[in-house]
């Protein structure tokens, strides 16, 4: 589909989203609460056929964010889901690895460096931190500069 069709298709899940921003034709940001990100991801991957690119964890002041980046290669559009995790004490989000094996590693990495739990992840082990790195110390959090 072309960009306009893509925009219309994405609007179909707007009830799951807090906001849709499109600063450029080929850059879309979908903000949503953490509990909706699984459905939005599935929609982008399975219904639209976007390619998963990577996920970014962010420690924002009052919340955590997990950004899932997707690419719709036919139009060169990068669609990013911004999942807001409001619970800073026990940050958790549903893993998309069950239907997207390509996301397994990055969810393990975000878990290592931010301490965010990915529920129902098929293989949650350490990825990027060494064996002797202490538990509970998350290097990418802002309080660890």
């Amino acid at each position: 589909m072309n960009q306009e069709e893509l925009n219309n298709k994405i609007a179909q899940i707007k009830d799951r989203l807090i906001e849709i921003e499109q600063p450029f034709d080929n850059r879309i940001y979908l903000t949503c609460e953490a509990q909706n990100s699984y459905d939005v991801s599935k929609f982008l991957f399975e219904d639209i056929g976007c390619r998963f690119v990577i996920a970014t964890g962010i420690d924002s002041d009052n919340c955590f964010e997990v950004l899932y980046h997707y690419s719709y290669d036919q139009t060169g559009c990068v669609v990013t889901i911004k999942a807001i995790i409001r619970d800073r004490e026990n940050p958790a989000i549903e893993s998309i690895a069950p239907f997207l094996p390509g996301a397994e590693w990055i969810e393990r990495e975000i878990h290592d460096i931010f301490g965010i739990e990915f529920k129902n992840h098929p293989d949650m082990r350490r990825l990027i931190l060494s064996d002797d790195w202490p538990e509970g110390v998350y290097p990418m959090r802002k309080d660890l500069s």
């Binding site: 690119v53 970014t56 690419s71 060169g76 094996p101 397994e104 290097p139």
Partner: protein
């Protein structure tokens, strides 16, 4: 009834004098067939994303170009693409063309390096030495333009740091003709060799379906019939002004990936020629005073696939968050799909077909379930080469000699 039989597991790595980088793959085998594979990474973890947060925007390109020696131009380009989007800055046309020239020259020498390594893994040391000899002029050219064979430090937010002097154009064009001739010979030698056909066809197949689930990019994807390429899909620099083709092959095996890389090298040569001939006059940079608050993504097609950077700014002089995704990070796990069911002699070449950049990722080993070394890296390499020798004997083809490849 489930028998508690210990399955032998093979180990290669993580530290071995013959390996260029450290990595740890664990293969579980049943006889000589791989039944499972696991990868351990992080030996080369350097905390780059954290370091980025303590650098100023203009210092980051120097940091990220050192993530990898052969994706060295792609990381900083992806990063500045993102920052330029936040700042609403477009570099001058000349800079866009210079960026294409540098990045395509990098692709040429990276692909030639790969061809050499692949040859080495299957016992074609002639191809190895030849490919690495004929990539030298490319590195010399890059050194002449940027001052360095790798880690060019040429990209900055707003343009380029070094210009390509017009006086250098004839020399670059002449070298390109030579490189093209040598690559043609190499391609012919590799693609016409019946032993290579037997050795690489049908090996390490990554199906289109698996390629989509593992979200692979670059020649790994294009070799499985997925014709995606950031230069065409979401053009950056001056790619949309040039006449070139996205190369893809449907088979998904190691041979298909080799063909993709070789044919792409020709496209890159064409692109550098065209970019040089069209190189517009003018400045190579615009001044960028501040980066406003905002966020953006920037990507570039590295030799291994899509390099993707996400940058967030809060209006200060450092990135608040900088996420780096190298292509190998997503391509390497596709091993699970392409290695399982393969013969262990084919593991090294299947691994090599992804052209993993370990500094972008990590390294391989196969261990016995009692942690006894059944096959070390040397042994796996030997197995791979023996298989080639066996195939050559069956086909009755003489061994490829250096003299056969000389030009006239």
């Amino acid at each position: 009834m489930k028998k508690s039989v210990k399955k032998p597991v093979l180990a290669v790595g993580p530290f071995h004098p013959l390996q260029e980088e450290m990595e740890f793959f664990q293969l579980t085998v049943d006889g000589e067939i791989v039944t499972d594979i696991d990868v351990r990474i992080s030996y080369n973890h350097r905390g780059i994303e954290k370091i980025s947060e303590s650098l100023q925007f203009d210092q980051v390109p120097f940091l990220v170009s050192r993530i990898c020696g052969i994706c060295s131009a792609s990381h900083p380009l992806a990063y500045v693409n993102a920052v330029e989007e936040i700042a609403g800055v477009t570099p001058p046309d000349r800079a866009l063309y210079v960026r294409v020239i540098i990045n395509e020259l990098e692709r040429i020498h990276s692909h030639l390096l790969w061809v050499g390594l692949a040859g080495h893994f299957i016992g074609y040391d002639t191809v190895f030495m030849w490919a690495w000899k004929y990539r030298e002029p490319v590195l010399d050219l890059l050194e002449e333009i940027t001052g360095n064979r790798n880690n060019y430090g040429n990209v900055k937010v707003g343009g380029c740091r070094e210009d390509i002097p017009n006086e250098l154009k004839p020399k670059i064009l002449k070298e390109l003709d030579e490189i093209e001739k040598k690559t043609e010979l190499l391609t012919k030698a590799v693609l016409d060799d019946p032993v290579l056909h037997a050795r690489l066809k049908g090996v390490g197949i990554l199906s289109k379906e698996a390629a989509v689930k593992y979200a692979v990019t670059g020649p790994t994807a294009r070799g499985s019939g997925i014709a995606i390429d950031v230069r065409a899909d979401d053009p950056y620099a001056a790619y949309d002004a040039l006449d070139w083709n996205v190369i893809s092959q449907p088979e998904g095996d190691v041979f298909a990936k080799a063909v993709v890389r070789l044919l792409e090298t020709f496209e890159s040569i064409k692109m550098v020629r065209e970019a040089l001939n069209k190189l517009p006059d003018g400045p190579i940079t615009v001044e960028v005073k501040e980066i406003p608050p905002g966020e953006a993504v920037g990507h570039a097609e590295a030799p291994r696939g899509e390099t993707f950077h996400y940058v967030r700014s809060d209006g200060g002089n450092r990135p608040v968050r900088h996420k780096v995704r190298a292509p190998s990070y997503v391509n390497v796990p596709s091993f699970k799909a392409s290695c399982i069911g393969q013969h262990i002699a084919d593991v090294t070449i299947t691994l090599a077909a992804v052209d993993p950049c370990y500094s972008c990722t990590e390294r391989l080993a196969v261990v016995d379930s009692r942690n006894n070394l059944v096959h070390d890296y040397n042994a796996l390499l030997k197995l791979s080469r023996e298989r080639t020798a066996q195939l050559r004997k069956e086909l009755g083809v003489p061994k490829l000699k250096m003299e056969d490849l000389q030009i006239g």
